[in-house]
């Protein structure tokens, strides 16, 4: 279990990182797109306002041009009808030379002095291209007055800045997130109040901003537009879809990976089983050969002893005739014993494992043990076994396939021992270390252990404590270990459990492959 959960956690973490990065990218792109939109809108607003300002200049110039020079009757002039035509105009006045400004023209911020000064400044300009002058800014209501001085009379317009732009052309007519102001000097007219609090959305962006001076000499306003962008405006549906999609992809990838791992695991186990079968066959032949060879040796020697006795007696007594059939029979027996021995020898040579076919090379026993535990993971989980690899050791010198075979056998043995254990928790420990010039790898379980009487016989061929066992696994491991100039030992753990120790020469100590004398 500790192995899977670790892997799964890694996958989860990976997905979270990918998902977050993707989401950040989506938000970034979205903001960049909306910034571009905003800039376009700001330019549109600027154009609309500039045109509106120019229109006011034109209106004033036209009124001044058309106004009849002097005369009281002109008080009800054309300028009085302007507010009805232009919604942005609140009022229009005319002042003839020497006359005071009409009462209505005197609004807060636009007293007689201000109007006079504006008129003077307007008049100070050359006659051609003379343009109106700004006066009487009212930030509270967003209104201002334009004053144009003409030959005799002067004209003034009271303008509502909020209605400067024609309704259909203002880009943010329905928006509440944009704050738009017109500034001149230190004074500011608010066109759109926008969002109340400019909250910083987690430092993602300060929002969008544009400062554009209006193309108007009479109304030298700077258009200042701001839009605050917060998490509320993030593309949540897209983000949600992305999260879902990435989760789905991650899950699919994980499933694919897990199934591939499972396939690899099965293949590796099958490969190991195949090697094991071949090795076991060799061990079986060697075991059979040994078991048969001993009686055959005794048979042959006994028969030949009898033959010699008979032959000696025959020589001495000349009683050849009596002994001849017995001697012939014994000769036959000896020949058959030899024949049987030949068969055994041929069988053994046939399946003899090629010693160190791959050659001795550095083997990291810790890595081998970890890989094997990984392969056995489902079994460990099923049997509820806690498996750990402890310690560390430099590489050993040996045949990697043989070393893997030995450890696999030892681990499987431990698993089988633990399967029969009622004691919980079940522990399987692989401990690595060095002993003089050797690498030691202990495989330890807290299973029921081995009976003391059985302990010295564990490495005997055909000795087994398991019903159905062949009794060749451990002898095979020992043969493999010996072939690598290593050794395999077993120890009982008090009060229960077993430790198998595989020792192999250190790769560094062996130098040029020379085996140290024992």
């Amino acid at each position: 279990m500790p192995w899977t959960s670790r892997i799964d956690r890694r996958w989860l973490l990976g997905w979270l990182i990918v998902c977050a990065l993707g989401a950040a990218l989506i938000v970034r792109v979205d903001i960049a797109m909306r910034r571009a939109d905003f800039q376009a809108e700001a330019r549109q607003a600027h154009r609309v306002l500039s045109q509106a300002a120019a229109r006011l200049d034109a209106v004033l110039a036209t009124v001044a041009l058309l106004a009849p020079p002097g005369g009281e009757e002109a008080a009800d002039g054309a300028e009085q009808r302007l507010p009805a035509l232009y919604p942005q105009l609140l009022a229009a006045w005319r002042r003839d030379a020497g006359q005071p400004w009409p009462e209505g023209a005197l609004v807060p911020g636009a007293g007689p002095q201000e109007l006079d000064q504006a008129e003077l400044r307007s008049r100070a300009q050359p006659a051609t291209g003379r343009h109106p002058v700004l006066a009487g800014l009212d930030p509270a209501r967003a209104q201002y007055t334009l004053v144009l001085a003409d030959h005799g009379a002067s004209f003034a317009l009271r303008v509502d800045a909020r209605r400067l732009a024609p309704a259909g052309e203002w880009p943010w007519a329905n928006s509440t997130t944009v704050r738009a102001t017109l500034g001149v000097g230190s004074q500011t007219l608010v066109l759109d109040a926008g969002a109340p609090a400019p909250e910083r959305p987690f430092g993602v962006t300060d929002g969008f901003e544009a400062r554009l001076p209006l193309a108007s000499q009479s109304q030298p306003f700077v258009l200042h537009v701001q839009r605050f962008v917060g998490p509320a405006e993030w593309p949540w549906p897209v983000l949600g879809a992305w999260t879902l999609l990435s989760a789905l992809l991650a899950w699919a990838a994980w499933r694919w990976h897990a199934s591939r791992r499972e396939r690899e695991r099965v293949a590796a186990l099958a490969r190991m089983a195949q090697v094991s079968r071949l090795n076991t066959l060799g061990e079986l032949a060697a075991g059979v050969a040994h078991e048969l060879n001993q009686p055959l040796t005794a048979m042959l020697a006994g028969t030949q002893a009898a033959l010699r006795v008979l032959r000696d007696e025959a020589d001495a007594d000349g009683a050849v005739a009596d002994a001849r059939p017995a001697m012939a029979a014994l000769d036959l027996a000896a020949a058959q014993a030899r024949r049987a021995a030949d068969v055994v020898a041929r069988l053994r040579r046939l399946v003899q494992p090629q010693p160190a076919a791959t050659g001795a090379q550095p083997v990291d026993l810790g890595a081998v043990a970890r890989r094997l535990l990984d392969l056995l993971e489902p079994e460990l989980a099923r049997l509820d076994i806690v498996a750990v690899v402890e310690g560390d050791a430099p590489p050993a010198l040996g045949d990697p396939v043989a070393a893997e075979q030995i450890l696999h056998n030892l681990l499987t043995n431990a698993l089988q021992a633990l399967e029969g254990s009622v004691r919980e928790p079940r522990h399987l420990t692989v401990r690595l270390g060095t002993r003089e010039t050797r690498v030691a790898c202990e495989v330890r379980d807290n299973g029921p252990g081995v009976a003391p009487a059985d302990l010295p016989r564990l490495f005997e061929p055909f000795f087994t404590t398991r019903p159905g066992g062949l009794g060749l696994g451990l002898p095979l491991c020992q043969s493999l270990a010996l072939a690598m100039d290593g050794r395999l030992e077993v120890q009982a753990i008090e009060p229960h459990g077993t430790t198998f120790t595989l020792e192999l020469p250190l790769a560094a100590a062996a130098g040029g492959g020379d085996t140290p004398p024992r």
Partner: protein, 208 residues
């Protein structure tokens, strides 16, 4: 030859093999002492006996090859005939390197085993005799006077009496007397015997 017939130590963990081989060796008049446990053998066998050891390689507890090494460490001069059920080149090499006299695969034909054992016994008897002869020669050599040793050294080098006399500043007649004395003391009658038996001792005496 030794009055007592040689004793063969047979070490094999398999009782049947032990018995059969003992029977076989017995047919040619060899005395056999069989051991089932290599450790008991190492602890209990008679080191002064004349004979040989027949040793199985594959035994639980202590391998035959280890037993040979231990025997050599303990200074035993008994020749060892090694038996194995399954001989590899490597095992053979190790056995001979450790000083095995012969390496045989089981099952063994009587002729080969008996020949190997006989050879081993013969070698052992010879080496014991040589050892004994060497010991006696040494004892005799020790009885020589310094002058006689000088004369002997020159004689062994092949000098004539005259040359020896010139070399040692004595008359050939005196040399002759010394030669007669030392030949008597060393119990040799010919120059050939003298050289064969004592040239090595003379060299050994002068070397340090």
């Amino acid at each position: 030859m030794n009055p007592v017939s040689p004793l063969i130590h047979l070490v094999d963990d398999d009782a049947a093999v032990r018995e059969a081989l003992a029977l076989l060796l017995g047919t040619v008049g060899l005395r056999v002492q069989a051991w089932g446990d290599p450790r008991q053998f190492l602890d209990g066998f008679d080191r002064r006996s004349i004979g040989a050891i027949v040793l199985d390689v594959r035994m639980p507890g202590l391998s035959g090859l280890t037993v040979i090494d231990l025997l050599r460490e303990q200074g035993s001069d008994l020749p060892v005939v090694v038996l194995t059920g399954h001989g590899t080149v490597e095992m053979c090499r190790r056995a001979f390197k450790s000083g095995a006299a012969e390496f045989l695969e089981k099952p063994i034909d009587d002729e080969r085993l008996l020949e190997a054992v006989h050879n081993a016994v013969r070698t052992h008897v010879l080496s014991r005799e040589r050892e004994a002869a060497g010991r006696e020669a040494r004892e005799r050599y020790a009885t020589l006077s310094p002058r006689e040793r000088e004369v002997l050294a020159l004689v062994v080098e092949g000098l004539t009496n005259k040359e020896v006399g010139r070399s040692l500043g004595m008359s050939p007649r005196t040399v002759e007397t010394h030669r007669a004395n030392l030949s008597h003391k060393l119990q040799v009658s010919t120059l050939a015997q003298l050289i064969r038996g004592y040239a090595a001792l003379v060299d050994e005496d002068r070397a340090p």
